[in-house]
């Protein structure tokens, strides 16, 4: 975070950092005081824009066009950081001649499977050094790749097959052309792919003038290179799209070309939204992951331990993922202790299997189908916070039992009596058979534990007081639940209950029944199980073994409890340390603050410049050293070259800085892993008033859609009926509220500061629709209609896109309908439908189509009739927006 102050230019896009991460924003301001250029690219003018050198308004969802044009500008004007690009990225690597680009196929890549609506990735593979026809499981992502065989048996288009850190590649026998001239090099493919992403295209698609584009391009390229670095900052303005992961990939390409990755004041800063949202991905409460980004096993792909190991940890690939077997065995040992042995494959068979995507939206739909009986809500309020609130609430009414654990009586706990569907008569309280338990939760001051903040840093919070009344931590609740479930099953002889009964579930508790959080942290960190060190904490994940002699619940966190010291509680004051502040908290992995920081030195190990010195090779000591923990084998010299074919960390050359990638290089082109294409490509949002100006293909052909009557969409881009929902809406949050309001709408200060739901509209749109500042407006989407106070403001700019004026409506999403909060109101997320990014299954909530009219919305049945009337005028059917590949007759329109 502090490192942002080292940047010479900061581009904030997809984030309103000043208002949503206010205290972190001081580092941007500090950079600016030191002379850095700050540019804010966002549909709205916000306090971030007000404090930036320039605000560039953009049409929501068109970011790939802008960033793609930046890539084109950098390549065609030869502004890339040549040495960095050749040495540290896969620019010089040759791709299979069978690869076909979206330029060749009008918006599709080779390998698209019409029936499945997904890609087969084999033609995206690197060309093989062994020549064509190599059928050994050898080529990187090649035709014979183990993964791909498995994938044909299962739903291919789900992101759950890979944990993270990139997919396993089978080895690193690649062909390279360091002159970058071969037409099959990644570099040349990149150049062709973005050749039509021009400043004029940006003007046409994003509503950004050619002058503004040049301002951005000059700022970014002038502030990159040996002496200078540029940082990108994003938040959910990039992730919440049907191609959100690709938005971020586009920025990664820009940063790799400019040589800004792994360097001080560079990189891409992901601003995550919640105290431990990073932590809940690392130690995931997510369906597709096990702790430390290990994949959950998938039926048909990982039926056996050998198949699983082959998929997660190929010993022939380079980098630290090659040791994933040691991470997985240590995890299984931590969970099943003595019951996990080499003979029983460490109880791999105890793990349940996935069979497709089981994300929160799929689960919601399964509830509607009556397949889910019990649901736990743990400090989460989907009735307000998830897309398509109506679907969420209706889904919960199908549950047999629901457990809500929260501080306050949130809308998800009261939907059965106070929800909008009760008011509209769609649901009747007496008919809802759901049994509901409300259990009050302990606050952060009432329990000890660690949060992982946005830059992967764990910080311990100490218990200050006892929780009041029945309030309990999740730690205590789940420990207790586990204890009771095990008691109920104690006499069971059923084999299916063994995983629960064999589970290590024995934590010391205090006098109030609260488990010792440090004991849990120690298990997460891991320990030696045998030898002289038996019982001692591991100090690094490199100590983990695949022979059962170590255990550890989350390998990337190993080291946080090294030497039996809780390093998350390290608190040496910042003013007594340098900017990196290594003795405050602990960042994974290995307390490293900037990832891939080997790239801050040149291939010979010398800093690229004195000004941007960070980590370098100390010739005398024969070690890497610097201001941070080097992200490299500490004593591997820059000149080290492995024997060809060496796998694992030893396979990384002394100048392969991207140590988690299977070839040690930064990936401009992803030969494997991204489900919707190896290069980011502009597609329009699921709902868009605009036709894709670049390709016949309108939207991401691999996006996840759910054609259902309760999930209708507006027609897009000039299709008949699209004029019924002519405006773009985008959702966002405010400084004074937190997500769905569970932690803010019940607090007098915060409720008073932002008491009411409002919508932001431009004076032009207000004039067009007769909206008055302070008056009411009704906003209608293909799902529902909501009402909000009107804020007429020049912060919203009408943009000219494709020759038409596009108006955007801004909606903060913190309020919900209920009777318990100090402030309530309609929920903006009710307007959203469910369409997901295929890689990460995140919903598109940053861009949708709507109409806006003056006045309050109708109540009760009349509301339903209004929504239906719009739907029928637009001619929306179940298939509207849900045909994945755009049919040719529409392309021509």
């Amino acid at each position: 975070m502090q490192d942002l102050s080292n940047a010479d230019c900061i581009v904030i896009q997809g984030s309103n950092m000043a208002e949503c991460h206010p205290v972190a924003y001081q580092w941007v301001m500090e950079a600016r005081l030191k002379g850095a250029r700050v540019i804010h690219i966002d549909p709205r003018f916000t306090r971030t824009s007000a404090t930036a050198d320039k605000h560039i308004p953009i049409r929501a969802g068109s970011d790939v066009v802008l960033l793609g044009a930046l890539i084109n500008h950098i390549i065609s004007n030869e502004l890339y950081f040549k040495e960095y690009v050749v040495a540290y990225t896969n620019a010089a690597t040759l791709v299979s001649p069978e690869f076909q680009d979206t330029e060749d196929l009008d918006g599709l890549f080779s390998g698209y499977d019409d029936e499945k609506g997904s890609y087969k990735q084999d033609t995206w593979a690197y060309a093989s050094a062994d020549g064509e026809g190599d059928e050994s499981p050898g080529t990187i992502g090649g035709p014979a790749a183990v993964h791909e065989h498995g994938q044909t048996e299962s739903e291919r288009s789900a992101g759950e097959q890979h944990g993270s850190g990139g997919p396993a590649l089978e080895h690193a026998r690649v062909l390279r052309d360091e002159t970058l001239q071969d037409p099959n090099t990644v570099f040349q493919i990149l150049k062709r792919h973005y050749s039509r992403y021009t400043p004029e295209m940006v003007a046409d698609a994003c509503g950004i003038s050619v002058d503004d584009f040049h301002y951005l391009a000059e700022a970014v390229t002038e502030n990159s290179g040996r002496e200078r670095t540029t940082a990108f900052v994003y938040a959910v303005g990039w992730t919440q799209h049907t191609l959100g992961a690709q938005f971020i990939r586009t920025a990664a390409i820009v940063q790799l070309l400019l040589g800004n990755m792994g360097r001080p004041g560079g990189g891409i800063m992901a601003l995550r939204g919640h105290a431990s949202i990073q932590g809940s991905t690392d130690i995931p409460t997510l369906y597709n992951l096990l702790p430390g980004y290990l994949a959950m096993p998938v039926a048909g792909l990982h039926d056996t331990w050998e198949a699983y190991l082959g998929a997660i940890a190929n010993k022939e690939q380079k980098g630290f993922w090659a040791n994933a077997d040691t991470y997985a065995v240590s995890l299984l040992k931590a969970w099943w202790g003595k019951a996990a042995t080499a003979e029983n494959n460490w109880r791999f068979d105890y793990l349940p299997r996935l069979s497709g995507a089981h994300g929160t939206y799929q689960t919601t739909m399964a509830m509607l189908d009556g397949e889910v009986e019990g649901y736990f809500l743990l400090g989460q309020n989907p009735a307000v916070g998830s897309a398509h609130g109506r679907m969420q609430r209706r889904a919960m009414s199908h549950l047999k039992w629901l457990v809500v654990r929260d501080f306050n009586m949130i809308e998800s706990a009261t939907f059965w009596k106070d929800g909008p569907e009760i008011v509209s008569g769609e649901l009747v309280t007496e008919d809802i058979e759901t049994e509901v338990f409300f259990l009050p939760a302990a606050a952060h001051t009432e329990k000890s534990g660690s949060f992982t903040q946005t830059q992967r840093m764990l910080q311990w919070h100490h218990q200050a007081v006892q929780p009041p009344g029945d309030c309990q931590s999740e730690l205590q609740f789940f420990y207790e639940l586990g204890r009771r479930v095990r008691e109920l099953l104690a006499d069971s002889t059923d084999e299916r209950d063994r995983p629960l009964l064999d589970l290590t579930w024995d934590y010391p508790t205090d006098g109030h029944g609260e488990p010792d959080a440090e004991a849990v942290l120690a298990e997460i960190n891991g320990r030696h199980l045998t030898g002289d060190k038996a019982g001692q904490p591991l100090s690094s994940y490199t100590e983990m073994k695949a022979d059962g002699s170590t255990e550890g619940g989350c390998w990337i966190y190993t080291g946080v409890y090294a030497d039996g010291v809780n390093h998350a509680a390290n608190r040496k004051p910042g003013r007594e340390q340098d900017l990196t502040a290594l003795e405050w908290g602990w960042a994974w992995p290995a307390n490293r603050r900037i990832l891939y920081n080997r790239a801050s030195a040149d291939p010979d190990g010398k800093p690229w410049s004195e000004r941007k010195k960070y980590v370098w090779w100390d010739e005398e000591q024969g070690r890497w050293t610097g201001h941070d923990v080097p992200d490299f084998v500490p004593d591997k010299a820059p000149t080290y070259r492995p024997e060809p074919g060496t796998g694992g960390p030893a396979g990384l050359a002394g100048d392969d800085p991207f140590v988690m990638q299977a070839d040690g290089k930064g990936w401009l082109f992803t030969p494997k892993g991204m489900l919707d294409g190896p290069l980011p490509t502009h597609y329009e949002p699921q709902e868009s008033p605009v036709r894709n100006p670049l390709y016949g293909q309108q939207s991401n052909p691999a996006r996840k859609v759910f054609p259902r009557k309760d999930n209708l969409w507006s027609p897009s881009g000039g299709e008949r009926g699209s004029e019924v929902y002519p405006f773009v809406f985008t959702t966002y949050r405010l400084t004074e509220h937190h997500t769905a309001g569970g932690m803010s709408r019940w607090l007098p200060y915060l409720a008073e500061l932002q008491p009411e739901f409002f919508c932001e509209v431009s004076p032009e749109l207000a004039a067009e629709r007769g909206l008055e500042n302070g008056g009411w407006a009704t906003i209608v989407s293909a799902r529902t209609a909501i009402e909000a106070r009107v804020l007429v403001t020049e912060r919203m700019t009408p943009l000219v896109v494709g020759g038409h004026t596009i108006h955007q409506v801004g909606l903060p999403y913190h309020w919900g309908v209920g009777k318990e909060a100090l402030v309530s109101g309609d929920a903006a997320n009710d307007l959203l439908g469910v369409a997901l990014d295929p890689n990460v299954q995140i919903q598109e909530s940053k861009a949708g189509s709507c109409d806006i009219v003056a006045g309050r919305r109708p109540q009760g049945e009349a509301l339903l009739r209004l929504v239906e009337e719009y739907q029928s005028r637009a001619g929306s059917t179940v298939m509207t927006g849900n045909v994945l590949v755009t049919p040719p007759e529409e392309e021509s329109r």
């Binding site: 997510l286 019990g374 952060h444 946005t454 109920l488 995983p499 849990v520 608190r571």
Partner: protein, 189 residues
């Protein structure tokens, strides 16, 4: 003129004497203000903590008196936040002490129009029972090709992202051992 007031207590002179040139500090404080003592001074102890709202992770100091949180302030030691808190972080004392906060377990019967009180331990017992029953009833051993599944698709969870790592760890561990795979989090939203 009040005889107790001297030339020295004239506002301008007061301002100059106290160095409060903008007239926003000690020269203009009221008697009441002067007699107030900050809660931070009378606290029994101060505990280092972290803001529970966003992922910046600002340092907090929690002031405790008589086993109650009386004030929460920014921690100047934190190299990330350097003592600052935004409106949410500054309001976190109210998160803990707000009168609207739920302190008792509640239960709603199927079809009932309202809540009823319930003993916490009884509630946990009932939940454990339902957990076991649902799991037993909906267990999937194999898919249609005979490949192992070992799971239930009838128990799901959605967590907020302000839970501790240690809590997430126990949740993931218990659910996975129970074969409940639909564990999700704000991180996907």
């Amino acid at each position: 003129m009040d005889p107790k007031q001297t030339f020295l207590s004239w506002p301008v002179v007061r301002q100059v004497r106290s160095g409060d040139f903008l007239g926003r500090g000690p020269s203009v404080t009221s008697k009441r203000t002067r007699e107030l003592t900050p809660r931070t001074v009378t606290a029994d102890r101060v505990v280092q903590s972290v803001c529970p709202y966003c992922a910046v992770g600002c340092g907090q100091r929690v002031f405790v008196k008589d086993e109650r949180v009386v004030q929460i302030e920014g921690d100047p030691d934190s190299p990330v936040s350097r003592g600052r808190l935004c409106p949410k972080g500054s309001a976190s004392e109210q998160l803990v002490n707000s009168p609207g906060r739920q302190r008792k377990a509640l239960y709603r019967r199927p079809g009932a129009a309202d809540w009823e009180p319930i003993e916490l331990s009884k509630a946990v017992e009932m939940i454990a029972q339902r957990f076991v029953d649902t799991r037993r009833r909906t267990w999937q051993d194999h898919d249609e090709h005979g490949r192992p599944l070992r799971r239930t698709m009838a128990i799901a969870s959605l967590g907020g992202a302000t839970l501790d790592n240690e809590e997430n760890y126990l949740i993931k561990k218990l659910f996975t051992a129970a074969g409940a795979i639909q564990i999700e989090n704000q991180a996907r939203i």
